[in-house]
Symmetry: C2
Subunit: 348 residues, 2 copies
């Protein structure tokens, strides 16, 4: 009995037309959505990567939806991408998945086993945490350096060429990820409450946040906060904080300055543990910056401030804003590994 | 048709024996439990209040369980207390409820209407927030001064003799109640994570907290935190933090010092708004201290540190550790109002 879902792959019995050109699949699996792309296997990579097909599915984090549903999501989105690119599994040379929730070797081995059931044995398979795909999206597929992700949550990952890795932050709001979008917005809400009850100074955040939420008094914030505990809903207030900081509000400025310290500290912690800056700390390494919090604003550019702060300790830190999405990073990583595998340097 | 639950009061048709001595009911209704006590109506109050009966029920916060269930809980626990004290409703002279969730005049009016349906019209009825009962437990029934409650959550309430009131904090962990038991413990967990990933210094909190939770690595704290988001479960770690601070751990000491600042700031904010210290700030007023966080420890006494900090700004602040529980505070408040009502000074 086939261990894969035969009906998903029925399209392969049709004549897809044309010669079976070799392809690579790259996938970025997150808690919100999963993106899969298919690129041709070229001898050398052009500046602009040609995308044969792209598909999007829902969550593929096994911690969130369970193993069976995660496996089904991954298989479906890969089959859809191959169908769109008019390719069969026999044309695939390598598959690289960066999946949220893959934290331990046993998670990696489980997902590798799913892929082994789906693809022919000649296909090279690579499975990593989604932070690796984010890193690779900024390093053209190389796993070396550091990635800082700051969206609703925040996490910093570092990787060395000899396979060591380290992470910092990423523990969620209860455990103090104060540089995350959630952390920034929660502190802004706290500033509004403190101004209201007399514990803190008045701040522009009060009017700006109440207006954006359609509330008339800070008292109503308590109810608003508890009707829906979703972190993303609170993190969505970050633009209001940036806007108040740009207008000169001191509370908003202090919140962003503290966030900059937190985010750069999380990068510096992994750089130190992995000696990414070399013995003297001056060596060069990329820091890939991903996520809404790090995006440039008019006056207040959190990403640039974080970079400046990291470079004070590690002058060789090279900030990189990826030009491609993480799924393409995963495909580039597979392409690199495939090339290296000809000299037996990558693990399957 | 009677608007009260007739079957609850069937015991009143029996001969309860003895003369029908006048009594007062005091009730402290919280989110976890509700306590009702019955005291005799004495001409003057002795140092030790005689308790005729005491009953305990579950939650009576209408925000948590709905209005019908809250009303039923209150009626049942009052009936049980009267039955235990061998008293009928006709013997009751006054009822005072301090109920969590009573924040607006309309909440107060709703609960008053429930009581009006249950008790004969001669009974004096008083309904307040549960913080008022906590205050009254330290002021022998007088509503003047400040109460600081620091358990799982934290809140500060202030009251003037002419009926003005103010509150600070009490907005929950998202909105920054960092002096609460939850806030102290969450910061301690953050300290453990930061020491583990290289963002912060090593701390005794790591071994102490992992041991108390039966975990083997700080990595496991992330899963532990998210399996059960209950605030009380996290706040239960406060004794570990105090113990590490007493042993000289700097991270634990900083967390407690910051909590002291937060808690005293919440008191000072309401004192300032209500001018409880008078025009020069040197006037005398009670600060009733309630909740596990404020209880004395060996070397580290959070309650004493908070008092010292408040007195630096308001030298007339008089800390009071209540000798009786809040339900008795409610009964004493009713007793005081009943006495004043003879000169028409209390509202029904």
């Amino acid at each position: 009995m086939a261990k894969y879902n035969a009906e998903i792959w029925e399209f392969e019995s049709e004549d897809l037309g044309g010669p079976a050109a070799a392809v690579i699949l790259g996938l970025d699996g997150g808690t919100t959505s999963t993106v899969c792309i298919c690129i041709p296997l070229l001898d050398s990579l052009p500046d602009t990567i040609p995308i044969l097909a792209r598909s999007v599915a829902g969550c593929s984090n096994h911690n969130s939806i369970g193993e069976t549903a995660a496996r089904d999501t991954l298989e479906h989105v890969m089959a859809e991408t191959l169908l769109k690119s008019r390719s069969k599994r026999s044309a695939v040379r390598a598959v690289c998945l960066g999946v949220s929730g893959v934290n331990h070797p046993k998670d990696q081995e489980r997902v590798l086993n799913w892929l082994r059931d789906i693809f022919p044995s000649h296909v090279k398979l690579y499975v990593h945490n989604d932070a690796v795909a984010a890193l690779a999206s900024g390093t053209f597929g190389k796993i070396r350096g550091c990635v800082l992700i700051a969206g609703t949550g925040s996490i910093s990952y570092g990787f060395t060429e000899d396979g060591r890795e380290a992470r910092a932050a990423g523990a969620g709001p209860v455990l103090g990820d104060w540089g995350s979008g959630y952390g920034i917005a929660a502190r802004a809400l706290t500033g509004v409450i403190r101004a209201h009850d007399g514990r803190g100074p008045q701040t522009m955040l009060t009017n700006r946040i109440l207006q954006s939420l359609g509330l008339s008094s800070p008292d109503e914030l308590i109810g608003w906060t508890y009707t829906d505990p979703s972190w993303a809903r609170i993190a969505a207030l970050v633009p209001e904080v940036v806007s108040c900081a740009e207008a000169g509000d001191q509370i908003a400025n202090k919140i962003l300055e503290d966030a900059v310290q937190e985010l750069s500290l999380s990068v510096k912690a992994v750089v130190k543990r992995l000696c990414l800056g070399g013995a003297d700390g001056n060596g060069s390494f990329p820091v890939v910056m991903v996520g809404g919090v790090l995006e440039a604003n008019k006056k207040w550019d959190i990403g640039k401030e974080v970079t400046d702060c990291i470079q004070k300790t590690y002058p060789g830190a090279c900030p990189v804003i990826p030009k491609v999405e993480p799924a393409i990073g995963a495909a580039l990583l597979a392409w690199n590994c495939l090339k290296k595998d000809t000299v037996g340097n990558c693990r399957r």
